[in-house]
Amino acid sequence: MKNIRIAISIILLMLSKTSFCDDDAAGKVSMSGYIKDAKNGEDIIGATVYVKELKTGATTNSYGFYSVTLPKGTYNILISYIGYKSIENQIVINENITQNFMLQVESITTDEVLVSAHPKDENVNNIQMSMNRLTVDQMKKVPVMFGEIDIIKNIQQLPGVQSVGEGSSAFFVRGGSSDQNLILLDEAPVYNASHLAGIFSVFNGDAIKSADIYKGGIPAQFGGRLSSVVDIRTRDGNSQKLSGTASIGLLSSKATLEGPIIRDKGSFIVSARRSYFDVFLKASSDKDIKNTTLYFYDINAKLNYQLGKRDRIYLSGYYGQDVFKSGNFGLSWGNATTSLRWSHVFNNRLFMNTSGIFSDFNYSLGLTSGVQAFEWVANIQEQSLKQDYSYLLNINNELKFGVQICNKSFQPGVITPKSDNSIFREVKMPLNNALEYALYISNEQKIWNRLHLQYGLRFTTFQNNGNTTYIYANNNISSKNNITDTISNNYYQVDKTYFGLEPRLGVKFNVDEKSSIKASYNHTYQYIHQLSNSASPLPITMWVPSSRYIAPQTSDQIALGYFHNLLDNTIECSLEGYYKWLNNTIDFKDNAQLLMNPAIETEVLRGTGYSYGAELMVKKSSGKFTWTAAYTLSWTKLKIPGINNGNEYFASWDRRHNINASLFYEINKRWSVGTSWMYGSGRPITLPAGKYTFEQTSVLIYNERNGERTPDFHRLDLSVNLKSKVKPNRKWSSEWNFSIYNVYNRKNPFSVYTRNEEVPNPENSNKTITTNNKQIVMLWLFPIVPSVTYTFNF
């Protein structure tokens, strides 16, 4: 608490030192407005407005809005963003003005020297560190499996981000577990981002505009998870004309329709996908697979409308579902999110966004017939209301502040018998509720030209209400046998309240025009926890709130980085180091029963962890030839009493080395090629040290959690894109994408495990006999996978 008091004092001191003078009186005026794509009217997030004479500027926020305060005068204003032609205007600013800008998409035939690929020195001058922005245009340049652009797979290739292997959408940021990532889709949290257990993510590339990934130095407006924030924004839709896209891929197809509601006033977009694995399964010779149903579908929709010069509303939603049926067994899960947002510009300095947010993750599984027929459903639901303000205090200070209130409900499971002679009775697990409140304020302050600060505080309160709580003898939660009483609270009865104060700090010092040093610190709280004890969460993994027995997880992270640009800012380099402390980190007892367990605290173990590492990234993102190279060196260890005899052990997602490299070359207007290569050293696994026989079954003996490692992982992917010829009167275009996944057919480890040895059956050469002898085997997933996708645009 002493450190937090010091942090508060420092922040209050900084704010009190801030010049609260009247800028108008001091001859200062503001220019604000929106920056949009000239072709379709989409807001551009992160575009830079740069005032050449003052060597200062601003970037657009998540709604494409910017605001700068300047002394009265005439300025050369440079507007730039990645993939767009920069524009430079001389503007006389003698009073507060609104100035919108429209950027044209960069043409590949343009001479590379004349094209500004992105905010020229953003890498060096932006105070935010440990953040990556992904756009769909960038993601299209990376070869993808089955031709499906996937944000999560792109995130897994960023420095500082680990994955546990192919076939999983889980990702691990700077040593944090996969449930420590806050994934927001138009501000609505997505609790399960995977389709088909992780082969695809739930994010349809056609509906996505961009994604910002914060790995450290997390701004104060974000909270609720320890390790990262993935802020995904969907497209607004073409406000200029009706247009559409349809893609046919190897395993899924999708279609998008977008257009103006009233031109330049509002637009809509609807995008839908469906996979057709099940069609291919019918061709299998295996009877069980032939009778299996397996598919997913999802739909994104968004409306936006400009009510006036100062007001705009957005309504966006996502609905997706996975369906699996095999014989008598069925399993499905899905997410639904809705965001209703209203953005209002009070004046050139004050911007507000108000959002009402709904998110639901649900699953069901069961058997449809027989004496074991049952259905089991569970869900987590969230409704929240938030307001965010951005206030340009003066030329040197931009304040951000806001408030959020959120109601969460957790239904861990309801079992319903599904046949007249079912052996099951109806069982309803107690509903759990929680209320989470947050207040934040932060300021980005320019101390002097070279030194910028970003400091903020986030205050959170978490209440566990309307729940069922067990009372344990001597507060000993190690066993259900210790339960002595049960307390049932109604919705208005709070069982436990937690408070959290989360200081955030960022510093940037420009060494010179081409290089800077940045540092950050953040303290974060996480009040909800995913009940997963596998490296990658199962599709039916549930969440639980903090309670009187499960304290919030907390984390502290410091990061230091050096940023340098080369060759007129065309090549960006960054080197970051970090150290992260994890407290109250959660793991589970050996053989824990996490499903349909109302006393989940009896299975939870708590401890500490730490992670440290270095991340190097070099990239060229302008011109015809672009490339990225990233290397991560990191260590992640956990120490949890009850696991590994209380000794430290490597987290399941610990990888010592990660390398990701990608190249993309636009040969001409029609042809382009891309390739990527990735390498990850082996991840920890647990293998047995011995065995014994019990009831004619071999029982394995383990002596160390995660004491061994899988073989290394590496893979090369290739893609070739062919665009249709551009003809003056043609109103449509098309594109072929040919890709090869795992070009050299590397057998990358999915798992290494112990199983009973299979030997040939002497009576039937086509069959094997399972013996009781054990063998250690490696299983791999995807061999070389060619794919083709055809996309049609109108």
Binding site: A535, D590, A689, Q696, T697, N703, S751, K774
Partner: protein, 270 residues
């Protein structure tokens, strides 16, 4: 059993996308790596209401690549209860120590096994579970999923007023069915009390001798079988729980001494 449904799903995903068969890799460890950390002796014991079933087997733990059973032949094993009964078990070969007289079996009685093995004493305590409701019937009926075959189904009632745990062991022609899918254990936690025709074994042939053993077991034994189930059904993949030791009731040793109430019967498939 619920976990196995998830395994079906994950297996299908894997099966669809896996190319080629698993390959052997060479582990960089063996039993001797940290030999002092793992138990050297394993017990497998039952105390039931049927005297013939009461025995304790003692053997060494071995490397996972070893296929031999190393039996302990000179152990001293004593079973006693909290009513003053005591008996030293007799060695009958293959690591098996047989209980020759009953020590008095009844619900809730507390038993203690004391074993002296190679100079070290191992102790286990266990409680005899409650007597279950008797099985109504086990019948042989045609197997609708396998033409020309039969299956055994059970009709029974189970208690619902208090928690009970069950184990079925099925033998066909004297051989225990012990494939991963054959492991049948359950609790009555979510049951309505009626078992109206639950399948015990499929693919029986005409003339087969089918024997079932129906036990009520303690929570401790239920957890033990649950641990075995987790082990045998794990594929070690990213969706699997971390492999873990199966915890018994004998400190410093592997295995478990089970207290079980047992019904058994045999049928000939018509």
């Amino acid at each position: 059993m619920k976990a196995s449904y998830i395994i079906i799903f994950i297996s299908t995903i894997i099966l669809m996308s896996t190319c080629g068969k698993p390959v052997d890799i060479t582990p960089e460890y063996n039993l001797d790596k940290d030999n002092h950390k793992i138990p050297k002796i394993a017990f497998e014991g039952k105390i039931t209401n049927l005297i013939d079933s009461n025995c304790v087997k003692v053997k060494r733990t071995v490397s996972i690549h070893s296929n031999e059973n190393i039996y302990i032949e000179n152990a001293e094993i004593i079973i006693s209860d909290n009513h003053g009964n005591i008996e030293q078990l007799q060695y009958v070969g293959n690591g098996r120590y047989q209980c020759l007289t009953t020590v008095g079996i009844s619900d809730g009685r507390v038993y203690t096994m004391t074993a002296k093995v190679e100079g070290k004493t191992y102790t286990a305590n266990l409680v005899m579970p409650a007597k279950p409701l008797p099985i109504d019937s086990v019948v042989i009926v045609p197997d609708e999923n396998n033409e020309g075959k039969f299956k055994a189904i059970v009709f029974a009632m189970v208690h619902t007023q208090f928690r009970e745990y069950y184990l079925f062991q099925n033998f066909v022609n004297g051989k225990l069915k012990n494939e991963p899918d054959d492991l049948l254990y359950a609790s009555n936690e979510n049951l309505n009390g009626k078992i109206p025709g639950f399948t015990l074994v499929e693919k029986l042939n005409s003339g087969d001798k089918f024997t079932y053993k129906y036990y009520t077991i303690t929570k401790e034994v239920f957890d033990y079988y649950n641990g075995i189930n987790d082990q045998v059904n794990s594929d070690g993949g990213v969706f699997s729980t971390p492999p873990a030791n199966v915890v018994g009731n004998i400190p410093d040793a592997a295995g478990i001494i089970q207290g079980m109430y047992l019904y058994t019967d045999s049928l000939i498939v018509p």
